[in-house]
């Protein structure tokens, strides 16, 4: 089903559209149940294909891979949108009207996750700035002096603190710069201000609760619903599951407030796409349990690399005594190279990725708006 842009015909020229609606309330003459079945099957297959592909290619949880995941989501979303449009006469009757409006109410929760992820991306940008300072301090043509090391060290300490998982900031409340007396009014600052950025959400917002809300009542469609809706209940369930999964991955990968991954995500095997999605899910859960990633602030591969290379650099700097041996000097240069490598890739990828997240946001909104427009 070609995903054409329906903007021009869909609910905008309300007079003509409304009159169309009245006519199309009777089951559309051309769509036999056979072609509808084919359409719905094709959707299931497409979802399965996308997720099989995600299993097979790319580095799991890298920025690029997650970008691919978002692309897949957008494709599935377009297909879904087409299906909803093609059968809009059915959408306004029971049980579809209930199922669809539930889906779109659910999708609002996803919008908040998208916004929270933007915060997470901004956090990463802040770390990049600190890394830039480290790199510029050490990446000089001259030999590295004590002052430069000191500067690099300070930035690395800031970076380490900035990358602490939120739960651990209570342990790390200490002066950020050497020898500076704490300002008298700093006691007004709460933990949130200790990070260089505060979240754009209220203190009570929780990514983990948001995911749980997305997952709540996400049940496989009841048989009588499937029959009564001519099978349309299935794509709704599919889309809702895909939405949940994508949001779950985003929360898993990026720093956000109250980032918990405890969500009951299970898709029964009867669905074509269940196997590839569950496989990805299991791989990611495994990743989250790994010793070295257990308390990280985000499972994004690049975050792990920043963490590692900055930690190594930090240790190296701590081990340096002046005058610096030539060995150490070489090592420093090597570590700087590594740091540069890690950041170059991220620097180029982060902006387009953020745009993609924003695109997901806009499409979800648009899809919902179209649906509201079409309800007569």
């Amino acid at each position: 089903m070609p995903a054409t842009d329906f903007q021009g015909t869909f609910g905008r020229s309300f007079l003509s559209f409304r009159r169309d609606q009245v006519d199309s309330n009777t089951p559309a003459a051309g769509s036999s149940s056979h072609s509808m079945e084919a359409e719905l099957d094709s959707f299931q297959r497409q979802v399965a294909e996308k997720f099989t592909d995600l299993n097979a290619s790319g580095e799991l949880l890298s920025l690029e891979w997650i970008g691919k995941l978002l692309d897949s989501f957008l494709c599935c979303q377009e297909e879904f949108r087409a299906i909803v449009f093609n059968h809009r006469s059915q959408i306004s009757t029971s049980p579809m009207n209930r199922l669809i409006s539930e889906y779109f109410e659910r999708s609002i929760k996803a919008l908040d996750v998208c916004n929270a992820i933007r915060d997470g991306i901004e956090q990463i940008r802040q770390w990049q700035k600190l890394s830039d300072i480290v790199i510029s301090a050490l990446d000089s043509r001259r030999t590295v002096g004590e002052g430069q090391l000191r500067r690099a060290k300070k930035a690395l300490v800031d970076l380490a603190i900035g990358m602490l998982d939120e739960k651990e900031t209570s342990l790390a409340h200490r002066n950020r710069s050497f020898g500076r007396v704490k300002d008298s009014h700093s006691h007004h600052r709460s933990m949130g201000h200790f990070r260089s950025l505060s979240w754009s959400v209220s203190r009570s917002w929780s990514a983990s609760k948001q995911l749980q809300a997305l997952a709540s009542n996400l049940n496989t469609p009841r048989q009588n619903d499937v029959v009564a809706s001519n099978g349309l209940a299935v794509p709704v369930y599919t889309m809702a599951s895909v939405l949940l999964f994508v949001m779950w991955v985003l929360v898993a990968a990026f720093p956000c407030q109250d980032r918990g991954l405890q969500v009951n995500f299970f898709v029964p095997r009867q669905f074509q796409w269940a196997a590839p999605v569950m496989s990805l899910h299991d791989k990611i859960v495994e990743e989250s349990k790994r010793r070295d990633r257990k308390n990280c602030c985000g499972l994004l591969k690049e975050i792990g690399r920043i963490e590692k290379s900055s930690r190594v650099m930090n240790e190296l700097i701590d081990s340096i005594h002046f005058p610096m041996s030539e060995e150490k000097e070489i090592e420093v240069k090597q570590r700087v190279e590594e740091l540069v490598e890690v950041h170059e890739a991220l620097k180029n990828g982060l902006d387009p990725f953020e745009r993609k997240v924003r695109e997901v946001f806009h499409r979800i909104v648009r899809s919902r708006t179209e649906n509201l427009d079409s309800l007569c």
């Binding site: 609002i108 919008l111 950025l197 959400v201 917002w205």
Partner: protein, 618 residues
């Protein structure tokens, strides 16, 4: 000896040239002036003194560095803030400048070991110095923001007279206090002018020494915090889309009020003020200024936009129209500010977001009208009003539209943004309004069919139709729909009127026709007697029923009565007259026996019509 003295003189001359000359060519000019001044200051001699392989000049470098080292180390080790004393800070900066100059001067000989060692040492000193400068920079920024925070609270209040408590407790520095907010043409000096100058001097050195990123980082962190605190003091909350979605309408209205105020203050005062500050602190380094500004304002701008977005995405319940329009109008009015404040390369994304969200608010308004259409369509048919009076939905819709049309200009704008195609003579808003009227009227027609009595059906339509026209006539809605529409609908009401009359009274009227072709005088009398009897019954019945019906509009009621009177009274009078003149109606029977009502009585009954029973009265 003399040579040594001359050496010294030349060295001094060179030194003067280097310190006074802010760049190479200026230094050159100064040397040129010297050379014309005194023969000893020939260009060759002066340039001879350039750092060379001569060990003595390297030692001059070392001496210079030693001197600078002791100065700089003293400052770096100081406990007190260097910038608390203007003489100290000036001396510190001078030493740094000197260090930078020397480094620049000798850098081309960095390959030579002794020079290289000195330069490394110089770099080390520079690092130490910059470290300290960064600290001083941070503490100066924080101190400055602190004192402003107190006077800042005036932004919260709308009162002109509110005094700042404890203002005098702060150090007697002349700190500009923000005046009470009466209009937005206010320029706030975010920090005291002297502080800004100091910060600029520091930033200049840091950026030149490659410490620009740290400088920008410190600057942005401090100002961002200040900005966020200012906004939260204005009452702007951090709300998720879902939280906004779930709010009660009253809560949301309050939140929107606060948002409107915060958005205006942010876009018209706070952001421009931050821009000015960036430009002053990072004067001469526009890229650093742009970047820092974006860092400072991004979070707050996103917060403001997120709320507007949440309102746009929220429910489309028709009661929300006016507040959503408020948000739309605020965004529209602030677009200019968004354009000018976020005009640089880094802020393009923010500006585009603002436009997107503004458009989405327009969509939301259109969505609200669609919801209104749904409401009308879905209003149940069976709930008809007893007595045929004004239906609640008519009242609701008409008053709603009248109120909406007060924001006519904004609504025109909202509808023009959509992709619809207007016809030649009417705007899209007109089309929308006409459509709603059509829907309402269809709904009313369906409702009218619930009445079993067709007369009541027409009365109902007449009542509601009249109300509609009244509400349209005087106001923006009438201007939108046009004279033609009003004329047509008045005609409709008149049509309902005649239909009512016909269906309820024609039969009776028929009875009153004097038939001259009756088969003989005896027959006529008998027929007339019959007819009169029937008339009386029907008239009684009708009056009884129709007096419980309602016509809310006084003028319309009068029109109906007058019209009926004009219809009935002459015919009745005529009939009665003829009847009475018939004479012989049987053995001694009097015509009067059969005449229940006189003409005046008929009139009186008519005047009792449409008053409504006590329960049906509207």
């Amino acid at each position: 000896m003399a040579e040594n003295g001359e050496e010294k003189l030349l060295a001094v001359a060179r030194h003067i040239a280097k310190t006074l000359g802010h760049n190479e060519s200026m230094a050159d000019d100064i040397l040129q002036i010297f050379s014309t001044f005194d023969g000893r200051f020939s260009r060759e001699k002066l340039s001879e003194g350039q750092p060379g392989e001569d060990g003595s000049t390297v030692s001059a470098l070392e001496r210079a560095l030693n001197s600078l080292d002791s100065q700089i180390s003293r400052f770096v080790a100081a406990d007190q803030p260097i910038w608390s004393d203007p003489a100290d800070s000036a001396a510190f900066l001078d030493a740094i400048d000197e260090l930078v100059n020397i480094t620049r001067e000798w850098s081309h000989l960095a390959n030579e070991k002794p020079v290289g060692a000195c330069l490394a040492r110089a770099d080390e000193m520079l690092q130490q110095a910059m470290f300290r400068v960064e600290e001083e920079f941070r503490s100066l920024m924080e101190r400055g923001a602190e004192s402003f925070a107190v006077s800042n609270h005036r932004l919260d209040s709308d009162e002109d007279e509110e005094e700042v408590e404890g203002d005098d407790d702060y150090d007697g520095d002349q700190i500009p206090v923000a005046k009470p907010l009466t209009d937005y043409d206010l320029i706030i000096d975010a920090l005291p002018s002297a502080t800004i100058n100091d910060l600029h001097e520091m930033a200049k050195r840091m950026l030149a020494a490659g410490f620009g990123k740290s400088c920008s980082h410190v600057y942005s962190a401090c100002r961002r915090e200040f900005l966020e605190e200012s906004l939260s003091r204005l009452g702007l909350k951090k709300l998720s889309i879902e939280e906004v979605h779930k709010m009660t309408w009253q809560e949301l209205e309050d939140e929107i009020e606060r948002w409107i105020k915060s958005a205006n203050v942010a876009l018209r005062i706070l952001f421009p003020s931050e821009r000015r500050l960036c430009d002053r602190v990072f004067f001469g380094f526009s890229s650093a200024a742009d970047l820092s500004f974006m860092e400072v304002c991004r979070g707050s701008a996103v917060q403001i936009l997120n709320f507007a977005d949440a309102v746009a995405i929220g429910s489309r319940s028709p009661e929300r129209l006016f507040k959503v329009l408020d948000v739309f109008e605020t965004m529209r009015d602030l677009m200019g500010e968004f354009e000018s404040v976020f005009s640089d390369q880094f802020c393009l994304v923010l500006k585009n977001e603002a436009v997107t969200i503004w458009k989405r608010l327009g969509e939301a308004v259109r969505g609200i009208f669609m919801e209104l259409e749904n409401l009308i369509r879905r209003d149940p048919a069976k709930a008809a009003v007893p007595g045929g009076g004004l239906h609640p939905i008519t009242r609701y819709v008409m008053n709603y539209l009248r109120a909406a049309c007060r924001s006519r200009q904004t609504l025109e704008q909202v509808f023009e943004e959509s992709n619809g195609v207007p016809s030649k003579d009417s705007t899209l808003l007109t089309v929308q309004m006409s459509w709603i009227m059509e829907l309402l009227e269809s709904n009313l027609e369906v409702k009218s069919k619930v009445y079993k009595d067709p007369a009541l059906c027409y009365l109902f339509l007449m009542n509601n139709g009249r109300y509609i026209v009244q509400k349209v006539k005087d106001g923006d809605l009438g201007l939108l729909l046009g004279e033609d529409w009003i004329r047509k609908h008045n005609a409709k009401v008149r049509q309902y009127h005649s239909s009512y009359q016909r269906s309820a009274w024609n039969k009776m009227l028929g009875l009153l026709k004097v038939d001259n072709t009756a088969a003989g005088m005896n027959g006529l009398g008998k027929t007339m007697k019959e007819k009169l009897k029937q008339f009386n019954v029907q008239f009684d019945e009708t009056c009884k029923v129709h007096s419980t019906w309602v016509v809310f509009d006084e003028q319309l009621r009068e029109e109906l009565r007058i019209s009926l009177a004009r219809l009935l009274l002459p015919a009745y009078g005529n009939f009665i007259g003829r009847f009475q003149n018939l004479g012989d109606l049987g053995k001694g029977k009097n015509a009067d026996k059969y005449i229940k009502y006189g003409v005046e009585d008929i009139e009186a009954c008519i005047n009792e019509l449409f008053k409504g029973s006590t329960t049906a009265r509207k």
